[in-house]
């Protein structure tokens, strides 16, 4: 009997040892563990800073139930980047870099242990982003002011590395309201945001897609020049005023029925691109066939389910159309083509970087609380969208869009804006029977001879890409180049 008692107590002692000695680490990550969750508020969470040193999220000492209060000094402007850190959940960088920000990441274990031994309070690691505060600020101001309150988003990339220089979505929200430690206030703020018109919580820069419109002609043009190695931007291509579509009575015309080139039915590719002739690219698309367009759309980063920056990016779609007629529409960025603003920036970035598309990323570096570097991001190549030669041709064509007198974005030539930009406008029809307001799209990079920045802009219902989207891109580029001292 004593043995039975001994066995029972030994079993209890062993089990308690297991529970409190070995199991805590695995139990901490189990569902509903409010203690482990609240424990994170007792440590100072790491800050999120831009590449030029502007703090956009920080934890400051607080005197309420938790020791630290999360603050977002720039509120709505950076909300699509930082996300929020509430009592119950996180989004954005707060979520995807949570383990380093709260200090629980395995890469910080040794440092935490040393802190424990030396009696220093445990602190989360800081995350340095690729964002340039000047570009971000210019994009935010331009979007909030110039778009007249219309929803839209801007993404700027460094073409050589894929570093995201600006990521703005409008309308946005103030994450400070969600950082409250009062759960009732939190629920009220959350409900208010969910009810608010325009869906401010949606990050339109990477999680919403629109038709690319004529900016998709970059893909169609790339496919044509790649599949016809003898052609150049000066090669004459079929450019009728009206393009008859097979198996339908429908006719494809240019904007306002305009004539393409000199009206001869043939025009140099460069001219058709600069004037954004739908008949030319519709015709090229039918010749190239949908599978080819699909292939090149994929090389530019579309149809990817796996892109992460580290937030997951909504897939930009090229859907193979069921008919030749619809292939013509898909070649000019209509039909079922949809892209994120990030994808728009990636079109220009791959052309600017000699056809080499770099994987976009947002986290530049993770720095421990003792300022030692934990992790630095190394740029990686996503794909070789086109050959350097074709990229040069596309660059010339995009330059013509802005610099040629008949280019669609001629208003932003070097004389007007003070730097040399290459780009492509898009004005995407949408709505039932295309009755909705046109979405304004613009993709560009600058300076032309030494690309530093590629920008993608989409303004929902903005009208013409050249008038609604391009000026915003210009503001961002101007601010960024100024910050580089050029």
């Amino acid at each position: 009997m004593s043995i039975a008692v001994l066995v029972m107590f030994v079993l209890l002692l062993i089990n308690v040892n297991y529970l409190q000695g070995f199991a805590p680490a695995s139990l901490a990550t189990k569902p509903n563990n409010a203690r482990a969750f609240e424990a994170q508020f007792q440590y100072q969470r790491g800050s999120i800073v831009t590449s030029d040193g502007v703090t956009i999220a920080e934890s400051t000492p607080s005197s309420d139930v938790y020791k630290f209060q999360r603050k977002y000094p720039h509120g709505a402007e950076y909300a699509p980047v930082t996300g929020y850190d509430t009592l119950y959940s996180e989004t954005g960088i707060e979520y995807y870099e949570n383990s380093v920000l709260n200090g629980s990441d395995s890469s910080l274990t040794v440092r935490n242990f040393i802190d424990l031994l030396t009696g220093k309070p445990r602190k989360g690691a800081n995350v340095t982003l690729t964002i340039n505060s000047k570009a971000q600020n210019a994009a935010w101001n331009a979007l909030a002011a110039d778009s007249g309150g219309k929803p839209g988003a801007v993404v700027a990339l460094n073409p050589q590395t894929g570093a995201i220089l600006a990521m703005v979505s409008f309308p946005s929200y103030d994450p400070n309201a969600l950082a409250t430690h009062n759960s009732k206030q939190l629920i009220a703020a959350d409900n208010a945001l969910l009810r608010q018109a325009g869906n401010p919580l949606l990050n339109r820069a990477i999680n919403f897609t629109w038709p690319p419109g004529s900016t998709f002609k970059i893909v169609t043009g790339s496919a044509y020049l790649s599949r016809n190695p003898a052609s150049t931007p000066q090669t004459n291509v079929n450019s009728p005023t009206q393009l008859k579509l097979p198996q339908t009575t429908h006719v494809l015309t240019n904007n306002n029925g305009e004539v393409c080139g000199n009206g001869s039915g043939q025009a140099p590719l460069l001219t058709a691109f600069a004037q954004s002739c739908d008949t030319t690219f519709g015709s090229l698309g039918m010749t190239l066939t949908a599978p080819t367009l699909n292939n090149f759309a994929g090389l530019f980063g579309m149809n990817s389910k796996t892109l992460r920056i580290p937030m997951p990016v909504t897939q930009s779609n090229y859907v193979i159309p069921p008919s030749q007629a619809l292939t013509a529409f898909s070649a000019i960025g209509q039909f079922s083509d949809t892209v994120t603003p990030l994808q728009e920036a990636m079109f220009a970035a791959s052309i600017a970087n000699g056809g080499k598309l770099m994987t976009p990323y947002l986290v530049k570096q993770v720095t421990a609380s003792d300022l030692s570097t934990v992790d630095t991001h190394q740029p990686t190549q996503l794909s070789q969208a086109v050959s350097p030669a074709v990229a040069t041709y596309l660059g010339q064509m995009m330059l013509a869009v802005v610099q040629d007198s008949d280019g669609t974005a001629n208003a932003y030539n070097t004389a007007a804006v003070g730097f040399t930009m290459a780009g492509k406008t898009g004005t995407a029809q949408n709505g039932v029977n295309n009755t909705g307001l046109n979405d304004a799209v613009f993709t560009c990079y600058a300076p032309y001879d030494n690309p530093q920045i590629a920008v993608g802009v989409i303004i929902a219902g903005g009208g013409y890409g050249a008038t609604a989207a391009a000026p915003i891109a210009v503001q961002v580029i101007k601010a960024y180049l100024a910050s580089l001292g050029k």
């Binding site: 009997m1 039975a4 107590f9 089990n15 409190q20 000695g21």
Partner: protein
């Protein structure tokens, strides 16, 4: 015998015949004071952690506690001077820690789980006073353990009646958390099963002393195991049936296991036959298995035990168990310190899951200490059972000690997910009166038996003219 004629112990030629030459009451007092120091320290710890100062009510609570336990010590001095010196201080220490934890849980809560009512600590101190009062009453009324043997069948009937009472009463006054185990009178509740345990332990002991020979000797040998005769199976079947009825009608697996375990263990002590042990264990497991299939409440407990983290369990059925585990995990090796954790997150942490609250705040170190305190009480009890000569007292002490061990095993094993969690109290630590009072009465019985066991035999009266006993070397 006067002290003048009594020889000094060291010179006593019959020395080896006397098991303990003194009662060791001074040891008991020193240990008691040591316990008071620990409790006062724990109290102060809670106060400084939560409020940065000594708790204002500490003097009253601690004062009442010290007075009543010192009274108990005086009672032991008077009524059971030869008793084991550790039982009272160990029980008092656990009781004091329980009061401190009740105080701590009454001081702090959060939005979802309110703190215990501000009167909870005072009530727990009053229960302590009642419990220690009953302890003294038992010592006073039961001067000799053997007298209890007379009431074998009376106490058996009382025990079964107490057990059955809540099942017969309407759910409105007997149901708590899905189990019908209490009697509610206004704001005051009694859990009769706590007292039924004691009555039945005494009854079992009386019955088995009378019947143990026939239970031990008659029977056939099959596969090396002595099987009892079919007609001798009656009593064990009766208790088995009673425990299953308890399970079905009161949905109280923990208590049901406790009774079955108590009976089987006492049967084993009485007969020294392993077959009874195996038979009883097999019967309970089979019964519980069938019940788990037939009754949702029982099956649910098994599901919670086996899959606490899967599906919706962590937020629904297994919420309590899982939160208790999280609490213990957050305590780690050394704990958060009294007042430093968040034990209030766990539902019912003051009663069934109080062990996890200690785990969270005192850590692995504290839990090992608490388990060892229980282990020591059980060890003192079993030691008493081994040294007492009267077979009834032997059985009773063994049974009571084993029951205490089993209760600790069932609840601590339950909250640490060693076995399915069932709602029974943690002796001395849980908030609540019935369990505390019954636990003190159990300790009183053990002290009474240990007093008998350790009492030196009466010295032979040597008078001139009578034949003198001479030891020849």
């Amino acid at each position: 015998m006067s002290s003048i004629t009594a020889p000094a112990p060291a010179l006593d030629p019959d020395g080896p015949l006397i098991p303990a030459s003194r009662g060791r009451r001074r040891t008991e007092l020193i240990m008691l004071v040591f316990g008071f120091a620990l409790i006062a320290f724990a109290f102060a710890n809670v106060g400084y952690t939560l409020k940065g100062k000594l708790p204002s009510a500490m003097v009253e609570y601690l004062g009442a506690f010290v007075v009543i336990t010192v009274l108990a010590h005086v009672a032991v001095r008077r009524l059971a001077p030869w008793a084991d010196p550790l039982l009272l201080p160990l029980a008092a220490l656990l009781n004091g820690l329980g009061v401190v934890m009740t105080y701590r849980l009454a001081q702090q809560g959060n939005l979802l789980s309110a703190p215990l009512s501000s009167s909870a600590t005072g009530i727990q101190v009053i229960y302590t006073v009642i419990g220690v009062g009953c302890f003294m009453a038992v010592l006073f009324l039961v001067r000799e353990p053997r007298v209890l043997q007379r009431y074998t069948y009376t106490l058996g009937a009382v025990g079964l009646a107490l057990l059955a009472l809540p099942a017969l009463l309407p759910a409105s006054i007997s149901e708590v958390a899905g189990a019908k185990i209490q009697i509610r009178l206004g704001s005051f509740t009694v859990q009769p099963e706590e007292f039924a345990k004691l009555a039945l332990a005494v009854s079992f002991a009386g019955y088995l002393v009378a019947k143990r020979d026939v239970l031990a000797l008659a029977g056939r040998r099959v596969l090396g195991i002595d099987l009892p005769r079919a007609r001798d199976l009656g009593p064990i079947l009766l208790i088995w049936a009673a425990s299953l009825l308890l399970l079905v009608f009161e949905s109280d697996i923990g208590t049901s296991a406790l009774f079955m375990g108590l009976f089987v263990a006492m049967l084993y002590i009485a007969t020294s036959r392993t077959s009874w042990l195996l038979l009883g264990f097999a019967m309970f497991v089979a019964g519980a298995f069938v019940a788990s299939r037939l009754f949702g409440h029982v099956g649910e407990r098994f599901d919670i035990w086996l899959h606490p983290f899967s599906g919706s369990n962590p937020s629904n059925n297994a919420y309590q168990l899982v939160q208790g585990l999280y609490g213990m995990a957050s305590g780690g090796l050394l704990g958060k310190g009294l007042g430093g954790g968040q034990p209030y997150i766990t539902p019912l942490v003051q009663s069934d899951l109080v062990f996890t609250a200690f785990g969270e705040e005192l850590g692995l170190a504290g839990l090992m200490a608490i388990l060892l305190i229980y282990g020591l009480i059980v060890q003192r009890g079993l030691r008493t059972a081994m040294s007492v000569k009267d077979p009834f007292s032997k059985l009773l002490a063994g049974g009571l000690s084993f029951m205490l061990a089993l209760q600790v095993f069932v609840i601590v094993g339950g909250v640490t997910r060693l076995i399915p969690l069932t709602g029974i109290t943690t002796p001395f630590l849980s908030q609540g009166g019935s369990s505390l009072v019954a636990s003190w009465m159990l300790i009183a019985l053990l002290i009474r038996i240990s007093d008998t066991a350790r009492r030196p035999p009466p010295r032979p009266i040597q008078e001139e003219g009578l034949t003198q006993v001479v030891t020849i070397q």
